[in-house]
């Protein structure tokens, strides 16, 4: 009798584990987080008041989205590239747009093997802020002039292209 029940319980627990994992995956892929309303409201509050204050938001967003792979000092490790050369793309023709594309649509290149995941779900304001954060840190000095900063409108303009990470790689500015 005990063994009979034990078998049923074992299979039930096994099934529950898979269901739990699927639930987790669904929550993650739908960007669900266990948090309170205030945090969410604060995170999505529009911050486009005049004098776009990207510094704090950029740092926050970097910690949240980038730091795990590119590390706190932006030096990267192993299959994750260092961010020290990001600024140089601004000088290339089409480099500015490409920089935005690789954030929105991701990037898959032979060189780094691990693809950069698309970050298109990040709001315009935050994406602009975090790219500005990159351009002012991690060895990207001298930083771009104030008029060269990425603005939320710039991000919005690159959306809707439907590129794949591989296509973004093909658009890499020639050097």
């Amino acid at each position: 009798m005990r063994h009979l029940i034990a078998n049923i319980v074992t299979y039930t627990i096994g099934a529950l584990l898979v269901v739990g994992a699927a639930l987790f995956a669904w929550m993650r892929s739908s960007q669900v987080a266990i948090t309170d309303e205030e945090t969410i409201v604060a995170a999505h509050a529009p911050r486009t008041e005049p004098g776009f204050d990207w510094e704090e938001l950029g740092r926050f967003s970097y910690e949240r989205n980038c730091r795990n792979c590119h590390l706190a000092d932006g030096q990267g490790w192993d299959q994750y590239p260092s961010l020290g050369l990001v600024g140089t793309f601004l000088a290339d023709p089409g480099g500015r747009e490409w920089l935005l594309d690789l954030h929105i649509y991701g990037l898959a290149s032979e060189r780094w093997r691990v693809p950069m995941p698309p970050m298109g779900h990040v709001p315009d304001v935050e994406l602009a802020a975090v790219i500005n954060h990159l351009l002012h840190n991690f060895g990207n000095e001298p930083s771009p002039a104030a008029e060269d900063l990425i603005m939320p409108e710039d991000v919005a303009a690159r959306r809707g292209l439907g590129l794949t990470p591989r296509e973004v790689e093909l658009r890499r500015p020639e050097r």
Binding site: R2, V9, G14, G20, A21, F24, V32, R113, P115
Partner: protein, 480 residues
């Protein structure tokens, strides 16, 4: 320790009243004689059984869902996230295995530790399958990641994962094919332990290095601490528990040869009161100068549960250790971890019993019968005892003696009977059971103990004869 059949609990009270009123005797009398099903115990057991399973699921799933607490990295595709979740669930599952094998009696008593160990084996397969799905999905999602299969190609996170997976797969292969690999039990046990710890430690390194999901100090801390606690359990089982066992030393009081290559090993407590067990339970025993040994074997008590100052085990010569039992000198120190197990008449009370033994499977039943004799238990018992030859029937003289003092009927079934044998011959078949089972068999509880093949066949036959499966208890002695 399991609640004694006659301990009162608040929950049990409600069930006791009406039953004891019907019985016409004092509840305690009836209970002591085991005449009534101990409902209170069943309720207690069910509640604590459900409690532990709930806690178990919580422990396995909560760490995974903790990773939804911000700050979290942006979610990726469903399949990628599923692969990660499967990896995490598999890992926590492997980690919990260390608790399962730690033989915490309070935790295992509701189910019986044999069931827990059976679960340990089965769920390990499930966990390893889930863990293998984790890299598989990742690589199908992006084949360029297969470079991580090469120890030189990936990063330190993927290398740690490779070691962990290798350790896990080796553990499974070695455990499943131990007998075919002719691996000695103790050696296997050692490998199993080491590989298990290696798998856990390297899996944790993988999680910490990959780091995407435990991106805050407190999340890192929770994961590392829990992994360390699980590995620490090994220290508890192999280091601290033996230390504690040293204070409860036993000595070999007698080694008595029985029929059929069987020995009775009798132990006496040294400087303590001994041990209280339920008839039919078993203990892991180490017969050695020191408790710090991996040579430890589970054996059923064969003596009366009413005697705690001298415990006996029936041991048939089968493997390395059991073949040497006869040579153990009296006075050798021994250490006992027990009692364990749920195969007991005290747990499944009934108005009478049907016991079906195959060979050395008689041992727990010897404990049943001797206990009943000591208690003056009047309930009828039918023992169907199958063995090869008449000369090899262990304890048959004792059984003869016991049928004088308790209501015991023994039916011997011999596979190779002597020429003048008039009793049952062959195997315990459905026809035999139909012939021999008492008319009023349905209120009786039935216990099976013997070789797995026999138990399966007899179980099927009993179910065909409309014996309710809930009344059939089995002891599967493949604990390894």
């Amino acid at each position: 320790m399991r609640a004694n059949a006659c301990t009162y609990t608040a929950l049990g009270e409600a069930f006791r009243q009406p039953v004891s009123a019907v019985s016409g005797r004092g509840w305690n009398d009836a209970c002591a004689l085991g005449l009534l099903p101990n409902l209170a115990d069943i309720v207690d057991r069910t509640i604590s059984g459900v409690f532990w399973i709930g806690l178990y699921l919580l422990v396995v799933l909560v760490p995974v869902f903790l990773m939804l607490v911000p700050p979290v990295p942006s979610g990726r595709s469903f399949w990628l996230e599923l692969s990660v979740a499967l990896g995490f669930v598999g890992l926590t599952q492997i980690a919990v295995q260390f608790v399962l094998i730690a033989r915490f009696r309070r935790m295992t008593a509701p189910y019986g530790i044999d069931v827990i160990l059976q679960y340990h084996r089965k769920i390990a397969m499930v966990a390893v399958a889930l863990i293998l799905l984790h890299p598989t999905i990742i690589m199908v999602e992006n084949p360029s990641r297969s470079v991580m299969l090469n120890p030189l190609g990936g990063n330190w996170a993927s290398r740690a994962a490779l070691v962990a997976v290798l350790a896990l797969v080796t553990t499974v292969v070695v455990s499943v094919f131990r007998e075919r690999l002719k691996l000695q039990y103790e050696r296997w046990r050692f490998f199993h332990l080491v590989l298990g710890v290696v798998a856990l430690v390297f899996a944790q390194i993988h999680v910490s290095l990959a780091g995407l999901y435990i991106n805050t100090t407190w999340k890192q801390a929770i994961w590392i601490l829990s992994a360390a606690a699980m590995a620490g359990l090994v220290v508890w089982i192999r280091g601290i528990k033996p230390l504690w066992q040293r204070a409860f030393r036993w000595r070999v009081a007698e080694v008595r040869p029985e029929r059929g290559d069987t020995h009775t090993l009798a132990l006496e407590p040294v400087g303590h009161e001994g041990l209280r067990f339920s008839p039919g339970q078993f203990a892991w025993i180490k017969v050695a100068e020191t408790p710090f040994t991996l040579e430890e074997h589970p054996f059923s008590f064969s003596s009366s549960a009413e005697r705690r100052d001298r415990i006996e085990f029936g041991i048939k010569s089968l493997g390395d250790f059991t073949a040497r039992v006869g040579e153990i000198p009296v006075g050798t120190p021994a250490f006992v971890d027990g009692p364990h197990g749920a195969f007991s008449i005290d747990r499944y009370n009934a108005v009478g019993y049907v016991l079906i033994a195959g060979g050395v499977g008689i041992t727990p039943f010897m404990s049943f019968l001797r206990t009943m004799a000591d208690r003056g238990d009047p309930r009828p018992v039918l023992l169907i005892y199958a063995d090869k030859t008449w000369n090899g029937v262990a304890y048959r003289e004792v059984l003869e003696e016991l049928s004088g003092s308790i209501a015991l009927d023994v039916v011997y079934v011999l596979e190779e009977p002597p020429d003048d044998w008039e009793g049952e011959r062959g195997l315990v078949t459905r026809q035999l059971l139909e012939r021999r089972l008492p008319e009023e068999r349905f209120p009786r509880a039935c216990f099976l103990c013997g070789p797995p093949v026999m138990m399966d066949a007899v179980y099927a036959a009993l179910v065909e004869l409309e014996m309710p499966p809930a009344q059939i208890q089995m002891e599967r002695f493949t604990l390894a």
